[in-house]
């Protein structure tokens, strides 16, 4: 257990410029995507007038109060203001927990029409992790390390949970290639609906030609998801990241589903960029030359 916690939360040379720069980069990315989602969802809520499927807190709060007025934009503005304050201040970083609650409300209001997307879940975990960290941990860098480890934990858990869901719901026959054929037809319909036309990708054509090839594609996807909990271990993290990124590219070509924020976030937390930053610091003496620490 302690070995796992070490792998999740501990950095070698935690006071180095590389680790600090890396953690601030993770925080900056989380804040940027929070703003993107807050405004994107805020503007979309303006055209919603009915709740088809209540999610999360919408089961307990009537989110229809956000319909037909400018409350969604006020909420997005509030989230933005709080996020800027939280990112740049040292005293008010606990505001992240408030931002998380507001973003949750924005999500359940935006997705009250029946769609349950998972593309923003990692950002949700990031902001929740930052909020918890700064509520309970005083040292800023230790709090950021905790938030990073918290996200790493839930990334591994999420993908592995997805594979367990598949095996529980469909058993090992989930990987049968004709299931991929059915999903290709479904996603082609979605693309037709979104774009007014569609053409099959080369991966889809390949899968539709042979049930065996379609089955192999599904096996690769399932095995990758099953192995995702290995993301918790530092040494394996870059390799699992590559597998997960490869899987997402495969999902894009076979199912037309693109998870941009996942790919960027995986690329940030999955590779030890802090080693590169430390190397650059040692080679070019960035810290003393630019007084970088002052700005972090």
């Amino acid at each position: 257990m302690n070995s796992l916690l070490q792998n999740l939360f501990e950095f070698k040379r935690p006071d180095s410029i590389g680790v600090k720069l890396y953690l601030r980069l993770f925080e900056l990315f989380s804040v940027c995507y929070t703003l993107i989602y807050a405004w994107d969802w805020g503007f979309y809520i303006l055209r919603i007038s009915d709740v088809v499927l209540p999610l999360g807190l919408a089961n307990y709060i009537d989110v229809e109060i956000f319909f037909g007025n400018s409350l969604p934009l006020i909420s997005a503005g509030l989230i933005s203001g709080l996020a800027v304050v939280a990112f740049f201040s040292r005293r008010y970083k606990w505001l992240y927990i408030l931002i998380f609650l507001l973003l949750h409300l924005q999500y359940v209001t935006r997705f009250s029409l029946g769609e349950i997307p998972h593309s923003s879940n990692l950002i949700g975990f990031s902001i929740l992790g930052l909020g918890l960290a700064f509520c309970f941990i005083n040292n800023r860098w230790k709090a950021l390390s905790f938030a990073y480890g918290f996200l790493v934990f839930f990334v591994g858990l999420s993908y592995t949970s997805a594979s367990i869901s598949k095996l529980v719901a469909s058993g090992i026959s989930w990987v049968d290639g004709n299931h991929l054929w059915l999903w290709i037809a479904e996603k082609s319909t979605d693309v037709l609906s979104a774009e007014g036309s569609y053409t099959l990708t080369w991966v889809q054509e390949l899968a539709l030609q042979s049930r065996l090839i379609a089955t192999i594609i599904l096996i690769i996807g399932l095995v990758t998801e099953i192995c995702a909990f290995l993301f918790w271990w530092k040494r394996l993290r870059p390799y699992i990241t590559l597998l997960l990124i490869g899987m997402h590219i495969g999902i894009y070509y076979s199912m037309n589903i693109w998870f941009m924020s996942y790919l960027i976030e995986l690329s940030i937390i999955g590779f030890p960029w802090y080693k590169l930053f430390n190397y650059l610091d040692e080679k070019y003496n960035l810290q003393n030359r630019n007084n970088l620490l002052k700005y972090l």
């Binding site: 918290f150 869901s165 319909t189 037709l192 609906s193």
Partner: protein, 159 residues
């Protein structure tokens, strides 16, 4: 490893909260989820396509069609700023097409901004046959005009 005590407590408290929330909310309580997407392999699905109706007098307008039949009449939802998945869920999951629900779909599609358009909300369903081939059917549900919504008489016979 005393230094991790607090970390461990927060992590497991949130993990427990995660389990409780997804267990009591059908697997979803953002950002917590069991991530069930595509777990139901081989199950029939329903999506939605917005069709452009070119000839209102066509007697086959309410007939069930194939995806190829409606392919060139599909309206790009991106081009009118509507999320295709939202639209698909609205069309596929609504069972009772009451006035509020129809008004909600008209609002989502911004029908008032396109007074000359004649659009049809079509439910597209796919399933696997016993021979393991895929069949896709397009069933027209609603026809929108400037100020009226017509329901498919073959489906909504009692209305």
């Amino acid at each position: 490893m005393k230094k991790f005590t607090k970390y461990k407590f927060i992590l497991f408290a949130i993990l427990a909260l995660n389990i409780v929330l997804v267990a009591t909310h059908e697997g979803e309580f953002w950002p917590f989820s069991i991530f069930p997407m595509f777990s139901q392999a081989g199950n029939p699905w329903s999506r939605g396509v917005l069709e452009r109706v070119e000839n209102n007098n066509d007697s086959t307008i309410w007939n069930t069609k194939t995806l190829s039949d409606i392919r060139r009449r599909a309206v790009s939802l991106d081009s009118i700023g509507v999320d295709a998945i939202d639209y698909a869920n609205f069309v596929a999951k609504t069972e009772d097409w009451n006035q509020k629900r129809i008004a909600g779909l008209r609002d989502l599609l911004n029908i008032n901004e396109y007074p000359d358009a004649r659009w049809m909300a079509t439910r597209v369903s796919g399933y696997l046959t016993e021979e393991d081939s895929v069949v896709v059917e397009a069933v027209p549900l609603l026809l929108f005009t400037r100020d009226t919504t017509y329901k498919n008489p073959k489906i909504f016979q009692d209305k």
